[in-house]
Amino acid sequence: MTNPQLQFLHSGVSLPQFYGIDRLVILPRDPYSLFAYWEITESTREKLKNEWGDAAWQQAIFQMRVYKHQWGREEQIESFFDIRLQDDSNNWYFHVPDTDRLYHTELGWCTAGGYFRPVLRSNLVRTARDSISDIIDEEWQLPDWKARKLYRRISLYHLSSPEMFRRRKL
């Protein structure tokens, strides 16, 4: 059944565990959560360890800082929060506070004194909206009562048309 000559093409070798490249990438999962994965090379860790000294390094806390950008002025940071990570982790799912926002993160270590030293910066990610927009283009506007009816029709997606017609008759 099987051509043994071709067996080796897709077997035997596995993917590398590390690529030897410092990297932090974030991906959007849904309007309220993101996924981050990273690789921090040994040389980068060593560099920081040498910079800080053994004692400080032993007490340092590995963490990710999540930055929320301003709405409408996206080059500005509105706020940030920190997530404490397990030392041996290389990925994390985390919640973010707002939909339709740009986020980026930094990965690094925090000293016992609270000083955060970032090592990697991620790409930018925008979370999706989870509701109808409040922004209305005046040239593209139905009268309120019509808009309500139209949107109501779409939002009744748990009902099929026949059920809906029965309900309307009631």
Binding site: L6, L15, Y19, L24, V25, R29, K146, L150, F165
Partner: protein
């Protein structure tokens, strides 16, 4: 004149499951089943509608991986043999059931069904793409493309070059096979992210389809909800999926396909009859896998009690359901038109594989629907998205919302604990592919072939099907092996190219093995200077 429009869109896609190394593979059977049960019956119905002079317009998205399998000589040849075995089994069944009032007509039905599929397949020389193309040239079908290997674009967008290559190759592959560029694209899993429209516009695509909340939650608020397309800032139209029509057809519980008169999918003779009788004709031989010959109707909840299938009852029900669907669209269109002040368009996308495979009567339902809509009413007209755009209604500019049609409406199906491990490898490989393509803009000979194969392996690894299957919990090992196998092949090629030691024999074998897109231009992965990838930066 019609008060509104209905756009039925059938999305036909299967991952590239060609296995040169196995004479019988379970995954290749997905493709053979879809040919026999879905694509050929649908094409036959559409040609009959055309020959009967019925007015109809449908949109088909044919994914490049599916088209590549339809075009592949090995798979065409293997399909012929697969079908011959099935035809033989159906003949044995006719003999076995002879004289049985309930089952003999059913055995004959399947024999006729398989014979007709075989005759149709050979009429087109085994090239179904020709049948699709003809219906498209006659303006009955609008055929659109999808991303090359159905990559889940929002999660590959860390390297925009991946998106560009996935879409650009799809457009050129489609153009080569169908004679003209596609007007629209089916975004794999309807998955959209902000900024994707720029790449689509650059590649000449005029429209795409989103999940309902892709258009409904657009900014600014779309005046007509999902009942008119919006136009993105880059100038591409986005059509939002209608919810009512989705539910009516789609839902296995509440939708039409669950009707008790319809054929039961989960009772197949492969499991009911002795293995020494059915076994030799199954795929692979001797293994109890679905034959496609199923003699019972759904009858009731549960799988214990089933009554024999009655085609007359089932077809009557399909006609009723088509009438019901049409009636509901008429009411829907009248209601929406009264609110909107212009004709609404109802966009109803479905997986093509629902029709005929899961829902055996689906192709008949579609046939009845087209006939009824042509002759029994004048309120709603069938239209394709391209034709709708040609009508020239002004479109509101709005940014679609990032979304997908997967569970929960976003990326979670393709990004969770079962499958998230692939992205670091996919992104790393894409970054290296971009570097290679940029470094070698004019390779030739062996190097050019190695670069093209590297691009093929990367694209095959990027298929959304692998993380989807990992998430589904069945066939997980297959999906893991496919994703990692292609990435391992990519890395081997990368090493050979970097070390200038390309093994020509090995490369040739790989080219024969993963032979998708023979004319793939690896330079599609060249760095997009204007939109440099936002990689992690060392601070």
């Amino acid at each position: 004149m019609a008060q509104g429009f209905l756009s039925l869109i059938l999305h036909a896609h299967l991952p590239y499951v060609r296995h040169l190394e196995h004479k019988y593979s379970l995954e290749e059977k997905w493709f053979y089943e879809a040919l026999t049960e879905c694509y050929i019956p649908l094409l036959m119905h559409l040609e009959k509608l055309r020959d009967d002079g019925v007015y109809f317009r449908l949109t088909f998205s044919l994914s490049p991986t599916l088209v590549a399998m339809m075009e592949d000589p090995l798979l065409r040849d293997r399909y012929s043999h697969y079908l011959e075995r099935l035809q033989h089994l159906a003949r044995l069944e006719e003999e076995r059931t002879a004289g049985d009032e309930a089952f003999a007509p059913l055995a004959r039905m399947y024999r006729e069904h398989f014979d007709a599929a075989g005759a149709y397949f050979h009429r087109y020389g085994g090239r179904l793409v020709g049948a699709f193309r003809k219906l498209s040239e006659e303006n009955y079908l609008e055929i659109i493309t999808s991303a090359s290997t159905h990559g889940y674009l929002p999660l590959l967008a860390v390297q925009p070059e991946s998106i560009y290559a996935q879409v650009a190759n799809a457009v050129s592959y489609h153009t080569a096979l169908f004679g003209e560029p596609p007007r629209g694209i089916w975004l794999p899993e309807c998955a959209y992210y902000t900024g994707l429209d720029e790449i689509l516009a650059e590649l000449g695509l005029q429209y795409f389809i989103t999940a309902t909340h892709g258009v409904l939650y657009a900014v600014p608020r779309p005046k007509y909800g999902v009942y008119s397309p919006i136009i993105t800032p880059a100038g591409v139209a986005a059509f939002g999926r209608d919810t009512e029509t989705s539910k009516q057809v789609w839902s296995a519980q509440e939708g039409y396909p669950g009707d008790y008169d319809y054929r039961e999918f989960y009772r197949d003779i492969a499991y009911d009859l002795p293995l020494d009788y059915v076994g030799p004709h199954l795929h692979p031989p001797g293994m109890r896998t679905d034959s496609g010959i199923k003699y019972y109707r759904i009858t009731c909840e549960g799988l214990e009690y089933k009554e024999p299938y009655r085609p007359d009852l089932a077809l009557e029900k399909a006609a009723q359901h088509a009438g019901n669907f049409m009636f509901n669209r008429e009411q829907q269109v009248k209601y929406l038109a009264s609110l909107m002040g212009r004709p609404p368009i109802i966009v109803s996308p479905y997986d093509a594989e629902l029709f005929g495979h899961w829902w055996f009567e689906g192709p008949h339902w579609l046939d009845y629907l087209c006939r009824k809509m042509a002759y029994d009413q004048a309120t709603v007209k069938l239209i394709t998205p391209g034709e709708y755009l040609d009508l020239g209604y002004p479109l509101q500019v709005a940014s679609p919302n990032p979304s997908s049609w997967g569970d929960k409406g976003h990326n979670e199906v393709w990004l969770n604990g079962t499958n998230d491990w692939i992205y670091r490898h996919l992104h790393q490989a894409a970054e290296e592919m971009v570097a290679l393509a940029t470094e070698y803009p004019e390779a030739d000979g062996l190097l050019k072939r190695a670069l093209a194969q590297a691009a093929r392996e990367l694209m095959l690894a990027q298929s959304s099907d692998w993380p989807f299957i990992m998430n589904s919990g069945t066939m997980v090992e297959y999906a893991r092996q496919r994703a990692s196998g292609h990435l391992v092949n990519f890395r081997s090629l990368l090493r050979m190219i970097r070390e200038n030691k390309i093994d020509g024999t090995w490369l040739q074998q790989l080219e024969e093995y993963d032979n998708i897109f023979p004319h793939l231009d690896y330079r599609l992965f060249q760095s997009l200077e204007a939109t440099l990838p936002q990689e992690a930066a060392l601070i």
